[in-house]
């Protein structure tokens, strides 16, 4: 056994056994963040905080939720909403949180795209982040099944049907995923398992990986400037805080994060208390009925852009387009052929690419919400869907042509 001195206080006692002082240095006080950043750099911690809130509210919902097709709807809409003390609060926090987490994910993603934070050594940050996006999407979808309302049921029906692969007609696979011919009890219980255990565990693992991938390349800055972090850190530690280009993650950067979080949580709780209905589709307050389709099926707002890419094409082409759209963002670090790490505004054609992509995805989102019967909107949707792919095809070309900064 190793030799232990008698500790003078609790911190020293813990440090002897767990090296907490080293841990604190590595993870907080000597984890360096560039100074040249703005509020958009706080989105990571905003996401972490939102995930924490989803976890806590989810734990309380789990106490009364019943994953059974006969009981699920009432356990949510009656027991949790009107019997459980403050049950409504957990539900609205969970619903609003699930919606806002995607808003922040999209902001976080487009910040990364704008500043080129996925390039030269930062590829793994981008890839693990995209892994998180996929995991959160699966988490949102599986959670949407649980209240077992009409939208839950029919979303489950349509999304699992996608796995039939159009003309491949792989209905065996669809039935295997569902554990039944249609979404039923086996489907609900397995998606419950995915929602409360397997996917959250995967998310936590991916978050750890995502943080880990940041460590060596460090966080990007507003100019994509490359500098010596060790040197900057020495300056800071020597007391030349002003001259140094960096600040420690904790407490300095974190205190800035907390300010942004403060603003964010004002919005968050405003929605929770006054506009929770935006995350609660009225159609989902009808219990699931496999013999009655709602007149218009649409996903939550954060899936609308990819849903709109599925819609305007024929069945098979739509499925292929949808599948590509789901994974194409993974390819960004490899499709961007320019070595420049700089904000899009300084990158020539890429500036237009960025804003066109953002506008296109917003357009797709709006068109996805509208019923497909209006010819004008259907055509706008089609053009936007085609533009999405044109932009991705153009990306390697325009970035190859880009002048080196």
């Amino acid at each position: 056994m190793a030799h232990f001195e008698k500790a003078k206080n609790l911190n020293e006692w813990l440090d002897q056994r767990l090296a907490v002082n080293t841990l604190k240095k590595v993870m907080q006080t000597e984890y360096w963040i560039p100074k040249n950043i703005n509020f958009l750099w706080a989105m990571g911690m905003v996401l972490a905080a939102t995930f924490g809130i989803l976890l806590v509210s989810g734990i309380f919902l789990l106490m009364y939720y019943k994953p059974d097709t006969n009981l699920a709807f009432d356990s949510v809409n009656y027991t949790i909403m009107s019997e459980v003390g403050y049950g409504w609060l957990w539900r609205h926090v969970h619903g609003v949180g699930a919606s806002l987490v995607f808003l922040i994910i999209y902001i976080h993603m487009f910040t990364g795209i704008y500043y080129g934070s996925y390039k030269k050594g930062r590829e793994l940050i981008w890839l693990s982040g995209m892994g998180l996006f996929v995991a959160f999407s699966a988490e949102a979808f599986s959670g949407y099944m649980l209240p077992w309302g009409q939208m839950s049921y029919w979303a489950g029906m349509v999304i699992t049907n996608l796995f039939s692969g159009g003309s491949l007609e792989a209905y065996g696979l669809v039935e295997w995923i569902r554990g039944d011919y249609v979404p039923a009890d086996a489907f609900l219980t397995r998606f419950f398992m995915l929602h409360v255990l397997l996917i959250p565990v995967a998310i936590i693992g991916l978050i750890v990986l995502h943080f880990g991938t940041l460590r060596i390349p460090h966080v990007n800055n507003q100019d994509g400037e490359e500098f010596d972090f060790a040197e900057a850190a020495e300056l800071y530690k020597a007391g030349k805080v002003k001259e140094s280009k960096v600040i420690p993650f904790s407490p300095v950067f974190l205190s800035k994060d907390v300010l942004v979080m403060g603003v964010y949580f004002i919005l968050f709780f405003y929605l929770v208390f006054y506009h929770f209905e935006f995350a609660m589709d009225p159609v989902n307050f009808d219990p699931a009925d496999g013999l009655k389709t709602p007149a218009h099926i649409y996903p939550e707002w954060y899936f609308l852009w990819s849903y709109e890419i599925l819609r305007p094409f024929s069945k098979d082409l739509g499925l292929i387009a949808f599948a590509i759209a789901q994974v194409i963002f993974f390819m960004l670090p490899f499709l961007d052929r320019s070595p420049n790490v700089a904000p899009a505004s300084r990158r020539g054609l890429f500036k237009y690419w960025f804003w066109l992509m953002l506008l296109d995805m917003i357009t797709l989102t709006f068109m996805g919400k509208l019923p497909p019967t209006d010819a004008l909107f259907a055509n706008i949707g089609l053009v936007a869907a085609i533009l999405f792919f044109v932009l991705w095809i153009a990306l390697p070309i325009i970035t190859k042509l880009e002048k080196k900064l």
Partner: protein, 170 residues
């Protein structure tokens, strides 16, 4: 490290790895099987419908594997079709009541002898052929077996197989 020592370690590594891989494959198979539909679910995949009480031109909606099944006894003035299920002298239209466009459930309009889908305006005639709007194919006919005046859904009888071979079921 001695050569024989190296060989011994390699062997142990491969033996351990091999058995672990074997166990892993076994576990994967067990996991796959756990996700399969349960025997009780599969057994419930058959539904028997008694046709003797059916009224002409009145749509009955049955449930089979969770899906709505249209059963429509044709009246004398309605067109006969090779897709009809013939029991004795009566003709029936039997199909899965999901629009072949995006899976909504069409409604039957008895006066027009038509199915109309509220979602995107698709229409089918009383034999399930698409006659208007976006549906790409006729209403699908489920596997059936005629058993006296009863219809067993989920089991492929000779009449169904004939239709299937003629490409009439979907």
């Amino acid at each position: 490290m001695a050569k024989s020592e190296q060989g011994r370690r390699d062997f142990m590594g491969m033996a351990l790895g091999g058995f672990t891989a074997l166990g892993g494959i076994g576990a994967l198979y067990a996991m796959k099987r756990s996700w399969d539909p349960l025997p009780s679910v599969k057994a419930a995949g058959f539904t028997t419908v008694d046709l003797s009480g059916a009224q002409p031109n009145v749509l009955n909606v049955e449930k089979w594997r969770g899906k709505p099944i249209f059963v429509l006894k044709k009246s004398a003035d309605m067109k006969k079709d090779p897709r009809d299920v013939v029991v004795g002298s009566d003709h029936y239209h039997v199909s899965i009541g999901l629009c072949t466009h995006l899976g909504c459930i069409p409604a039957y309009v008895p006066d027009d002898h038509k199915f109309k889908c509220a979602c995107h305006g698709g229409e089918f005639d009383a034999s399930g052929h698409e006659i208007f709007g976006p549906p790409p194919s006729p209403l699908e006919i489920p596997p059936f077996k005629i058993d006296g005046t009863k219809l067993v859904l989920g089991e492929a009888g000779p009449e169904y197989k004939k239709m299937l071979d003629a490409g009439l079921t979907a």
